[in-house]
């Protein structure tokens, strides 16, 4: 979407050309753009400069710093302290040592860490591949009913994870449809899906895939719509089959979108909490099989870990700082590899 085009589509026609420096010579005092650099002349001959524009930024900057930037950075500092407000003591890296090596805490942490990667693998391999497949189908010129399919694919993205997660928790309960499914001869489907440690995490991941596949689909659709028709026609004439056209032409061209999706998937997986909270519970049952970094952070940092039940903000901050470092380590190289030069 180009803002300029949108503006024109709205019927905003550029005002009649006026000289960049108005003949009247009303150049404001304190204007910083007095040097006749071409760019400045064209657009901002009367630009009052930073001392003026800063005031437009100030309100946004204040809220952003106070409620996002500062608390985020200060969480890193917090990970070096133990105790709650008032009784807080500097303990160095003790929270991290506990998190990574303490027999109880580290078992939970590495368990949740492993589960988060499984959860991530599902989103990369099932959600994003499915999204790509849907997008290729939805951008085929000869496909009918594209709008309807698109609308349907996107519906789950608008439902709260808490609602869809709880819905699936009920639907997957053998009590709900067990008798009917057995009567239909589908007794293989009647299982305690969320109660069995071997299936619980897979089912939770698949429900999340069901919910979010619309996002990569729509982004890939937007990317694929930008691929030039001429190129695809040329490939067609050369006798490329669908797979060759996709792999050698479309895919390399939308690589920046692929990278963006990979980053979004990565970040949101280390953020995931609602789906576990709704489908199995904040403790990640059965036996921590569905415990993710998000739910672990909730228990240690906010709610209190079983059986003590007292939150440890320091350990929680250590978890969130570790996530922070992991996100940066994952996001920056992906950005560099896929985004090219801007």
């Amino acid at each position: 979407m180009s803002p300029k085009q949108t503006g024109q589509r709205l019927g905003v026609h550029p005002a009649p050309q006026v000289p960049a420096y108005p003949a009247s010579g009303r150049i404001m005092k304190g204007s910083v753009n007095l040097q006749p650099s071409l760019r400045a002349r064209n657009r901002h001959s009367l630009n009052p400069g930073g001392g003026y524009w800063f005031w437009y930024l100030l309100p946004a900057l204040l809220v952003y710093i106070l409620f996002m930037a500062y608390p985020m950075l200060d969480s890193v500092r917090l990970s070096l302290y133990a105790g709650t407000t008032g009784t807080r003591q500097y303990v160095g890296l003790a929270n991290y040592t506990r998190l990574f090596t303490d027999p109880v805490v580290s078992t939970r942490f590495w368990g949740a860490f492993k589960n988060t990667w499984v959860f991530f693998a599902y989103h990369m391999l099932v959600q994003n591949v499915l999204g790509m497949l849907f997008a290729v189908i939805l951008t085929s010129r000869t496909m009918k009913g594209r709008k309807i399919y698109q609308t349907i694919i996107f519906i789950p993205c608008t439902i709260a994870v808490m609602v869809s997660g709880y819905l699936f928790r009920l639907l997957l309960n053998p009590q709900f449809a067990g008798p009917s499914l057995r009567a239909m001869g589908l007794s293989a489907l009647v299982r305690p899906w969320l109660g069995d440690p071997r299936t619980a995490l897979n089912v939770v991941s698949l429900v999340s895939v069901w919910q979010w596949v619309g996002i990569p689909t729509m982004m890939f659709v937007a990317g694929l719509q930008g691929v030039s028709e001429d190129l695809l026609e040329a490939a067609d004439i050369e006798g490329c089959n669908a797979w060759q056209t996709f792999w050698h032409i479309k895919f390399p061209l939308i690589l920046p979108v692929v990278g963006m999706i990979a980053i979004l998937t990565f970040v949101s997986n280390f953020n995931a909490f609602d789906v576990v909270y709704a489908m199995t519970g904040p403790n990640g049952p059965p036996n921590y099989a569905t415990d993710l970094i998000g739910s672990l952070f909730y228990r240690y940092g906010v709610a209190g870990e079983h059986p003590i039940g007292i939150p440890e903000p320091g350990v929680g901050a250590a978890i969130s700082t570790s996530v922070f470092v992991m996100l940066l380590a994952g996001v920056l190289p992906t950005l560099r590899a896929t985004q090219g030069r801007d």
Binding site: Y52, L66, M68, P71, M72, M162, S180, G316
Partner: protein
């Protein structure tokens, strides 16, 4: 392949290929996968308990509205709904106002400091604000905002600002520069230009930013769960979290509450799906 000499057999297979049968098949299967749970949600909210257990897949005949009535009357649904609505409206209004002011400033202010501030906002798009939860919780207690809707509203504003600043700055930069010149020659002040020229022109971008933030704010569970414990301040999703205890055995009522919580956004989406898709994918596709 020479296209001028296509044999009849080839034409038929081409026509067959144009029908995209495998594509339709896959799309239909996925449509069922998406719609079946939604169907089960709605029909079972309209049944009695016995009716649901008898056949959960059947259509609700006759329609039973008692579950919805119970959720609305005894369940205080409208109180939760009003809280959620208040949070969304105030947050979005503030995000759009602060974001467009900052975007207006950043689009015109050229210099190292401006670039630095722009980048500072951009970082916020990549990092999840949840990381800051523990510190935010203490901050809210300190400010006396714990258990007040303002606590989550302020967090949502901060969370929504990076994307707002990004989209709106780019959009305002793309507006024809002559526009300002003309207005300025007419003697309009810059604040007046913002209000009477820029704001009306950036409406499409404001809609994009609004929708981008609307869904995550309405659907957020994390911050209300942590910041709000007082009953009369709870949002719709917090009402859903109480289900475990409240109606454990009365599933149709649970379905009714889930339906009521999901319905507003689904209806909004179905009535303006194009803007939704544009809005929710705004972050990834550069302008």
């Amino acid at each position: 392949m020479d296209r001028t000499k296509v044999k009849p057999r080839k034409t038929r297979s081409l026509r067959l290929a144009r029908m995209n049968l495998p594509g339709h098949l896959l799309m239909l299967v996925w449509a069922v996968v998406v719609l079946l749970p939604v169907y089960l949600l709605v029909v079972n909210a309209l049944k009695t308990r016995m009716g649901m257990y008898a056949d959960p897949f059947a259509l609700p005949l006759p329609l039973v509205w008692d579950n919805f009535r119970a959720i609305i009357n005894q369940g205080n649904f409208f109180m939760y709904f009003a809280n959620s609505l208040m949070v969304v409206v105030v947050s979005l209004g503030a995000i759009l106002m602060l974001g467009s002011l900052a975007g207006y400033g950043l689009a015109h202010w050229r210099g190292k400091l401006a670039r630095g501030l722009y980048f500072f906002f951009m970082i916020g798009m990549m990092l999840p604000i949840k990381i800051a939860t523990i510190r935010l919780m203490e901050l809210m207690k300190l400010l006396g905002l714990f258990n007040q809707l303002w606590s989550i509203i302020l967090v949502y504003i901060a969370m929504g600002l990076p994307i707002a600043v990004f989209v709106l700055t780019e959009f305002i930069r793309g507006l024809p520069g002559d526009l300002y010149e003309a207005a300025h020659i007419d003697g309009a002040r810059r604040s007046k230009i913002y209000y009477s020229i820029v704001l009306p022109l950036i409406k499409p971008a404001l809609a994009t930013v609004g929708i981008y933030n609307l869904v995550p704010i309405w659907n957020d569970l994390w911050f209300p769960l942590i910041f709000i414990t007082q009953e009369d301040k709870k949002t719709v999703l917090l009402a859903v979290t109480r289900l475990q205890g409240q109606y454990t055995t009365d599933w149709p009522k649970v379905f009714a509450l889930l339906t009521l919580s999901a319905l507003p956004v689904i209806l909004l989406y179905l009535s303006m799906s194009r803007q939704f898709v544009a809005g929710l994918t705004a972050g990834a596709v550069k302008g």
